[in-house]
């Protein structure tokens, strides 16, 4: 029953990858900028969890809550110091890409200097050692926790976007920044808040990455960014539900590769991204977000 295990693992990992990509999608939707430092924020989230666990014995699930306030602060600062400036430049799309590429390099370098080049991890025993049984397949508790956190994040984000006035303003900017401004939405405030939420979601994904991807290393950021980008392209840009659908498709593809052709599992995410981009650049659920 190898395929059944791959199927269950694929869905659980899919929910996790949806979470890992959600922040990137949100930031892109509001600001039309690709935060290339997204994967590096995930990496930092992982280190935060390891440090808090090693020194103070903080359970990673508590860290999930603890990273939210600093993430919002970092998001605010990044938006006002860097994002807003670059958005007003001559070619915001390319310039923001290059700039966040630089930011990603800085974060990676600082992480190497601060934490060294070694892998840091937390034993998955914190979520219990006994595997849970789903349809007769033993699944580690940590996977269920991660998938659960992903689902909770999705529901909360959905409520935020569709049931609050800030969320309504956010969606207004996503669909048409100029019209949103015309009816009195302050794009700076929404953008800064969105950036904070995006960073927070990435940091939370980073904490769980310790159990889903394995330990965290400073250099993993680029791969994670590309993976997250693959997921949001799969699901379509600008739709949170789509991100999770993209995550599940990606998770299944990854799990089946890992089960049946493990040597190619490093190659698979990039190949998947290329194939999707060439065949269907608007994503599975995507509408045409913008014209060439």
């Amino acid at each position: 029953m190898l395929w059944l295990f791959a199927l269950i693992a694929g869905v659980l990992f899919g929910l996790y990858y949806g979470l890992a990509a959600l922040g990137l999608n949100l930031i892109f939707g509001v600001m039309r900028m690709v935060n290339l430092a997204h994967g590096d924020v995930i990496m930092l989230g992982g280190f935060a969890a390891v440090l808090l666990f090693d020194h103070f014995g903080v359970n990673p699930l508590i860290t999930v809550l603890l990273v939210i306030p600093p993430s919002l602060l970092v998001g605010y600062l990044t938006y006002y110091l860097l994002g807003r400036r670059v958005q007003r430049s001559r070619d915001p799309e390319m310039m923001s890409l290059v700039m966040f590429f630089g930011v990603s390099q800085v974060i990676e370098a600082v992480a190497v200097i601060a934490f060294g080049n070694n892998e840091a991890s937390i034993t998955s025993a914190v979520f219990g050692t006994r595997p849970f049984s789903i349809a007769g397949q033993g699944v580690p508790g940590a996977w269920l926790v991660s998938a659960g956190v992903g689902l909770v994040a999705l529901v909360l984000l959905f409520l935020y976007l569709y049931r609050t006035s800030l969320g309504r303003a956010t969606r207004a900017i996503m669909s048409s920044p100029d019209e949103a401004r015309a009816v009195g939405v302050n794009p700076d405030r929404i953008s800064a808040l969105t950036f904070g939420i995006g960073v927070g979601l990435a940091a939370i994904a980073g904490i769980l990455s310790l159990f889903m991807i394995g330990g965290t290393t400073p250099s993993e950021g680029v791969d994670l960014t590309v993976t997250a980008f693959a997921v949001i392209v799969l699901g379509g840009l600008g739709s949170p539900m789509g991100t999770f659908l993209g995550g599940i498709v990606f998770g299944l593809a990854l799990m089946f590769t890992q089960t049946y052709a493990p040597v190619w599992s490093g190659f698979a995410p990039f190949a998947i991204l290329l194939v999707i981009m060439l065949l269907r650049p608007t994503g599975l659920l995507g509408r045409t977000v913008r014209s060439v």
Binding site: V34, L82, R85, V86, S89, R90, D91, E93, M94, M95, L97, V98, M99, F101, G102, V103, S104, Q105, V106, I107, E108, A109, V110, V112, I113, V222, D223, V226, F229, A230, V233, V263, W264, G266, F267, P269, F270, A271, L273, L274, M277, L278, P281, V292
Partner: protein, 324 residues
Amino acid sequence: MSSVAQRLREGAGAVGRRPRRQMVGDVLLVVVPPAGFLVASLVYNNQLLLLTMMVYVALAQGLNVIFGFTGYLPFGYVGFFGAGAYGTALSVHFLHAPIALAVLLGGLAGLLVAALLSPLLRLTGAYFAIASLAAAEALYYLISNPQLTAVTNGPYGVNLASVYNSGAAYLAAVVLVGVAMLCVVWVRRSHFGMSLRAIRADPLAARLAGVNVVRARTFAWLISATLAGLAGAIYAWAVSVFYPEAVFDLSISVFAIVFALFGGVGTVLGPLLGAVILYGVYNYIGVSQPQDFQLIYGVLIVLIVLFLPNGLLSIRLRRLWRGR
């Protein structure tokens, strides 16, 4: 729209009858840099450093051709460099090609990979940049795959010691610098370069004016990739022993992008200056820890984007303009 018209007019000035002075200037731009590197090797004895600098000049200029003139930024530019390095190594191992031919085949490998990836040019902006990065990573995982050990020696690297010849490799790099400069001067001055700039300013208008947008962009892409392939080939020849992660290292893309941006993309001299100054400074300071260099270059990228988006040469032009 006025800026489009203005740019086209500037371009027309460049393509039409041009003053002799400009012709002389162009010839100097092509001849002086390689000559300078030739002289430098007599004065300065760290040849590998100079060779690496030349490799980066070629990479920065190659990136300039695609990014500076079409606005397409390939983060995965290093993929062509790696393809060139492996193309050369495989030509030596399996075809027993003489090294000069093997280097050319390395350039051909870059060209072929670019031709294979040319559908990526249908994407724009961030999509293109990240797709090209994914392509480079995919190529890396393909070449370093343990299942391909019989062909590429997988993750265990390549040894080209049998054809090692540092003097000849140095001369090849000097020629490469000349070729790279020639490519950019030609793109800058030719009809082809003018159509690229027209496309960049407004693809639709360019098409209406009779420019074959897809063909022009693809051609620039192939030139750019071939330069990177040749650079990788000569680098492989010069270092002679290398691992896949060394020739597919993303920091090679970072270097090329930073050098080109620092000097000023879309110019002939900018990327050359960027590579020579920044790579020189980098070695002069003697940053020994890779993370220190990464930190400095990351900060530099952010600062360039925020404060000097048009590169070093824009400062000079601005001053001249004020002086008048």
